[in-house]
């Protein structure tokens, strides 16, 4: 489904990778190795060489916003641009329905953003991306601030996305998480992607 060829930028890459529908690719590796750079290039958030295409549609052939709605990057640190939580969601009703699944109060959308903890922000940012039903999710440490129980709930939600045919590229320090979710695992070191030993 997602085909990456010769993707490179500033000493990172070239990367080649294919992500099939319903597949989760796990990537681990030390900080600064280029994991986030890799995800950001796939989402076309940083200038780069090489090509990424979704089925037959090349990234540069479509407007960047349209690309990013299908290939959505979720940064390790979430961003918020309005005062109320609910204003950040294209479809607040759908978001509200998903809140209990990640252990959050149903009225969280009415809260001011300042009230949210780091872990709550992380879960809400994931829901914000999920309800747009992207075909590929690029997740950068999506559960770094969560306890094991909530992490399991988030993983279940990701499992549902995989089941409906989404592809996921998951960057995570949590090797056990990669083992639970990923169908294939890689290691990023010095800007290069190597297949990890299973």
């Amino acid at each position: 489904m997602l085909v990456i060829e010769g993707l490179r930028r500033l000493g990172f890459g070239p990367f080649a990778l294919e992500v099939a529908s319903g597949e989760c690719i796990g990537i681990a590796g030390p900080s600064g190795a280029g994991k986030s750079v890799f995800l950001r290039m796939i989402a076309d958030l940083d200038p780069h060489d090489g090509s990424v295409r979704l089925d037959e549609a090349r990234c540069e052939a479509m407007p960047a916003p349209a690309w990013r709605r299908q290939v959505t990057y979720l940064a390790a640190e979430s961003g918020w641009w309005a005062d109320r939580v609910g204003e950040h969601f294209v479809d607040p009703a759908r978001a509200r329905a998903l809140l209990p699944a990640v252990g959050m109060a149903a009225d969280a959308l009415d809260w001011p953003v300042t009230r949210l903890s780091t872990g709550e922000r992380q879960r809400l940012a994931l829901i914000r991306a999920l309800i747009q039903e992207p075909r590929v999710l690029l997740l950068d440490e999506p559960t770094s601030a969560l306890d094991p129980e909530t992490t399991a709930a988030v993983e279940a939600l990701l499992g549902q996305a995989l089941a409906r045919g989404a592809g996921i590229v998951l960057v995570s320090h949590d090797l056990a998480q990669a083992a639970r979710l990923a169908t294939r695992r890689f290691r990023m070191a010095n800007g290069n992607l190597q297949a990890a030993q299973p």
Binding site: D44, D46, P47, L74
Partner: protein
């Protein structure tokens, strides 16, 4: 006109006030006396020089020299806008993003004032062109400084919020619009204050000068009103151009945030 010419002796007498401040600084240990002296001397020399230059310029009434003088003023103002930025766009854009809209709006609005309002003969008479361009340029310059500083600072601070929107498929205009609006507002505030306070809290300098020089107060006021409208037009146009230009340069055609194009000033 019934202007009362000041003698240099009278100016020297007035300078005693600055000397008095210098003595106070010395007595109170403020350590400002040298700087006061220097600033005072600079002010006197700079103003006398510009007086001589303007006198020569008015005498020649050459459109070429007048245009050249306006260009020099714009260049100095452009440098000032550049110097006032805490963070600026890298390379030639750091200057251009302020200088181009500033030059364009100053020239357009000054021409508007000269051709359709003042109607001097010839229309480019330096006696009108230079002061008009100067006062418009000053206002446009502070507006653009504020607008650019506001926008580039906010965009740098709000990186996460902007990129979160872009990553979800927002266009760059949608992601930056609130910050652009805020920058435009902050650029407009000084002029709005100036207009609201004019005549009640402050007597604008230009008008006061005209009155001191013997012009009928009502005539001076009419000029001041004209100037205010010209300032509003010039500042609005210039700031709009600068903020949109900077926003375009802070992003790219693939709707990416390009903070790699921003450099910290020293």
């Amino acid at each position: 006109m019934t202007e009362i010419s000041l003698s240099y002796g009278e100016l020297a007498l007035a300078s005693l006030l600055l000397w008095l401040n210098g003595a106070l600084s010395l007595g109170l240990g403020l350590g400002l006396e040298r700087r006061m002296l220097m600033a005072g001397a600079r002010m006197v020399v700079q103003l006398l020089l510009i007086g001589l230059i303007l006198k020569a310029l008015f005498a020649t009434a050459s459109p070429l020299l007048t245009g050249l003088a306006v260009l020099v003023m714009i260049a100095v103002a452009a440098n000032e806008v550049y110097a006032r930025q805490d963070r600026r766009l890298a390379g030639v854009w750091g200057i251009a993003v302020g200088a181009l809209p500033m030059a364009a709006s100053t020239v357009v609005v000054t021409l508007l004032g000269l051709l359709f309002e003042v109607g001097a003969d010839p229309w480019h008479d330096p006696r009108y062109t230079i002061p008009l361009a100067g006062i418009i340029l000053g206002s446009v310059m502070s507006g653009i400084s504020l607008g650019l500083n506001g926008l580039v600072g906010a965009v740098t601070r709000e990186r996460l919020a902007i990129e979160a929107q872009l990553a979800l498929g927002a266009t760059r205009l949608v992601a930056l619009r609130p910050l652009m609006r805020q920058a435009l507002r902050s650029a407009w505030i000084p002029l709005l204050n100036q207009m609201s306070a004019a005549g009640i809290i402050t007597l604008p300098g230009m008008m006061t000068g005209q009155i001191l020089a013997g012009v009928d107060p009502v005539e001076a006021v009419k000029y001041q009103i004209l100037i205010m409208f010209l300032l509003a037009g010039g500042t609005g146009l210039g700031v709009l151009g600068a903020v949109y230009g900077a926003a375009a340069r802070l992003t790219d055609e693939r709707h990416r945030l390009r903070l790699d194009r921003v450099t910290e000033a020293k």
